[in-house]
């Protein structure tokens, strides 16, 4: 490989080189998997990825990939990248940041071709797969954004699960009583905020450990909603638990675009709100005075206080805002995805959102993509169980969780939370 030059680069970037073999080792293991599974174990079929549906206005041709050829191609390409990374590290250089992305993309192509190729009907709809991933990711993204808002200001938010669940509950009840789904949406934001109020009061005013409050709030909300669901809601489900659904709003013309049409321009209002929230919170946190203050409070509250920022009230309002955002995500469960509330229906989405938040390095955009990744693997598992694979369904179901572990262990490494996150601020 031509990159293995003898001369080392000079400059300040090279001063503290600790050779980190994690990347080459990880790449090597992946390449080995690709060789053994994707190449040697490749099915003699052609995997077809349908990009357009028959009903679409614009149609793109299907992508047909011969499984054996793609399997060998990815195995060889991944091996080359692993060797390249190995040489780079041996020469005391850092592996460029785009390398893992290219590697991951190639690995995904190899994996998808192999798994679809070995299915009984080797053909899946790529557009459906991606659109479904976004749909599954919507509550996760709202949850992660809530986490971002809280943790950036120095309050750990484990209560995302509780906020989502209370949002789902309130949305169902309010929308059922009023007969208006939008009322439900607002009620969900209020319910999420209410959970946040408890979190904020206990952690900011009474200095209770934030993790404890979060965990306990999740149990409390689960118990409360479960109790009310099996008393009030089950007694008169027509009045209390049959909310109308939020309509899907298609934007003319744009929604007909292949792949991105379904993702960006054919969503319920919750879906559009999600995109808006990601952008607004990103811009707000990193490009406004408010964001600077918030991050200062989260990183170094003493300094922020010295500069005249009211630390605890900033924290309080941010935690409340986070609760409202998570509440919208909760509304997704009862107003978009399913049309009634059932106990513990969020099924751990809040914890996944927490993982997405850390995986996305406390950044709204990062959390967005991390949640999408999780949604993708969850949806892939559904899609593959329909086309029928040789892989046991339980292992497919494990996939999103294992991928998250690998990603957190391999890619994120020692991710750094906001410095003051988790510590209460007491004025001297």
């Amino acid at each position: 490989m031509s990159v293995a030059t003898e001369t080392r680069p000079e400059g300040p970037t090279h001063t503290a080189t600790v050779r980190n073999w994690k990347a080459p080792i990880g790449f090597g293991v992946g390449a080995l998997v690709a060789l053994l599974v994707f190449a040697l174990g490749s099915p003699a079929q052609t995997a077809v990825f349908r990009i357009s549906n028959d009903s679409d206005r614009f149609r793109l041709a299907d992508v047909a990939l011969p499984a054996t050829a793609v399997g060998w191609f990815t195995a060889v390409a991944l091996t080359l990248i692993a060797v390249y990374a190995f040489l780079q590290v041996r020469n005391g250089r850092k592996v460029a940041r785009w390398i893992p992305i290219v590697y991951g993309a190639l690995f995904m192509i190899g994996f998808l071709t192999w798994v679809v190729g070995s299915a009984n009907t080797p053909s899946i709809s790529l557009a459906g797969l991606i659109a479904g991933s976004v749909t599954l990711a919507i509550p996760l993204i709202f949850g992660s954004l809530s986490g971002v808002l809280c943790e950036r200001v120095g309050v750990v938010n484990i209560a995302i699960e509780g906020q989502l669940l209370s949002g789902a509950f309130a949305a169902a009840v309010a929308a059922s009583i009023s007969g208006n789904a939008y009322v439900g949406l607002i009620a969900a934001a209020f319910a999420g905020t209410l959970v946040s109020v408890v979190l904020a009061v206990f952690s900011i005013k009474y200095y209770v450990n934030q993790i404890i409050v979060g965990v306990v709030l999740n149990v409390l909300v689960s118990g409360l909603t479960g109790f009310l669901a099996s008393t009030l809601l089950s007694r008169d489900s027509a009045t209390f638990n049959s909310p109308p659904s939020l309509p899907v709003i298609s934007i003319p013309f744009l929604s007909d675009l292949p792949i991105i049409g379904g993702i960006l321009f054919r969503q319920s209002i919750v879906g559009y709100l999600m995109y808006v929230a990601v952008i607004v919170i990103y811009v707000g946190l990193f490009h406004t005075k408010w964001g600077l203050r918030v991050r200062a409070v989260g990183e170094h509250p003493q300094a922020a206080d010295t500069m005249g920022i009211k630390v605890n009230s900033t924290r309080f309002w941010n935690v409340l805002l986070g609760g409202a955002v998570a509440g919208f995500g909760g509304a997704f469960f009862t107003l978009v995805s399913v049309s009634s509330f059932s106990r513990d229906m969020t099924a751990g989405a809040g914890y996944i959102a927490l993982a997405a938040l850390i995986f996305g390095r406390w950044n709204p955009i990062g959390a967005f993509f991390a949640a999408l990744l999780f949604g993708f693997f969850t949806n892939l598992q559904y899609v593959l169980s329909i086309v029928g694979t040789s892989v046991p369904s339980q292992f497919m179901a494990m996939l999103p969780y294992i991928v998250t572990i690998l990603a957190v262990a391999g890619l994120v490494g020692r991710s750094r939370p906001p410095a003051a996150s988790g510590t209460p601020y007491m004025k001297e």
Partner: protein
Amino acid sequence: MSSQLQQGDSSRSVLHRIMGGSTLVAVLAVVLSIVLGGILIAVTDDRVAETSAYFFSRPGDMLTAAWEAASGAYIALFQGAIFNPRADTVAQAIRPLTETLTVATPLILAGLGVAIAFRTGLFNIGAQGQIILGATFAAWVGFTLELPPGLHLLIAVVAGFIGGALWGFIPGILKARTGAHEVIVTIMLNYVAVYLVAYLLFTPGFQNPGSSNPISPRLDDSALYPLLLGSGYRLHLGFLVAIAATIGVWWLLNRSTTGFELRAVGANPNAARTAGISVTKGYVVVMMIAGGLAGLAGVAQVAGTEKVLTGGIAASFGFDAITVALLGRSHPWGVFFAGLLFGAFRAGGVQMQTQTGTPIDIVLVVQSLIVLFIAAPPLVKAIFRIDQKKKKKTTKPDQSSEDITTTTAAGGVA
């Protein structure tokens, strides 16, 4: 208020720290939570709803109905958890108490696992998965191997510990080597464990021959925990294991070098590292112990109460264990008694649900309220208007929550 913090801190005597109304606050927190739970029961009661329609003409009716709804539920809970006065024999009357001890067994064991990780600065949410793995390992030994009685049980218990320890080892080693956050890894491993056991229960080595359901064969009698009080009660030897584990964890944390190192890592990893204690080793060791303890909870389930392996073997013990550890303030004996309390709630809750129709979820509400209130003594004191003068000074982290508070200093969640 905040300017008085310093002053309040120094004026606090050691005696005050110990006595400082901490027990009183705990009792009041329990009372307050039970009252709030009772209000919830009353508000959602049918009779109360009917009588409230004519509240202004005859308010007594509604109040009576509310009192009856709440007290009825709690009496049923008590009778299901401690003592049943309506039973014909003494043996029947104390049966609920033995049920409480049976249910408390996995709670205590898994709670100890969560608590010991807390003390090392790790937040182990993975007790659920560790219980499942422990139960799976123990069950396999129980229905596959043929060994003499005694030895068989011993091997099954050891296997359960190893199974849980293995599931704890993964987040421990990942945290130590790559810095992967233990909260994420343990959450994810919970799901992986669920699907793993779901898969295993459909494979020939694990599925009961001739059954199409995901259920394992019954464990051999030689691999089951012997019953402590005869066949009339479910209480099994696992409870004594839980007591032994409590003593063991107490000894480990307070009397052993390893325990000292673990607590040092939990208190301040940087200082511990400077003092020559291997933080990475501490993470791995404590997660394996924590997982092993949760694994023992799995053994208690599979070799004690359930006797077969199913997908729901862990119920929600792994998550309840977190609240148990929090209520017990991560001290071994605190966890033990918290486990007993929550075991009583759970055992009584079942009885309450069948007898009065009050959903068992109310138990979750009361439990979480208790933990919340105990964590915030100033709030409880303010509600009951005690200690008013001091209250103003003591709006600061409660002294007795220090041990847990430190976990965040050590880089708790995020």
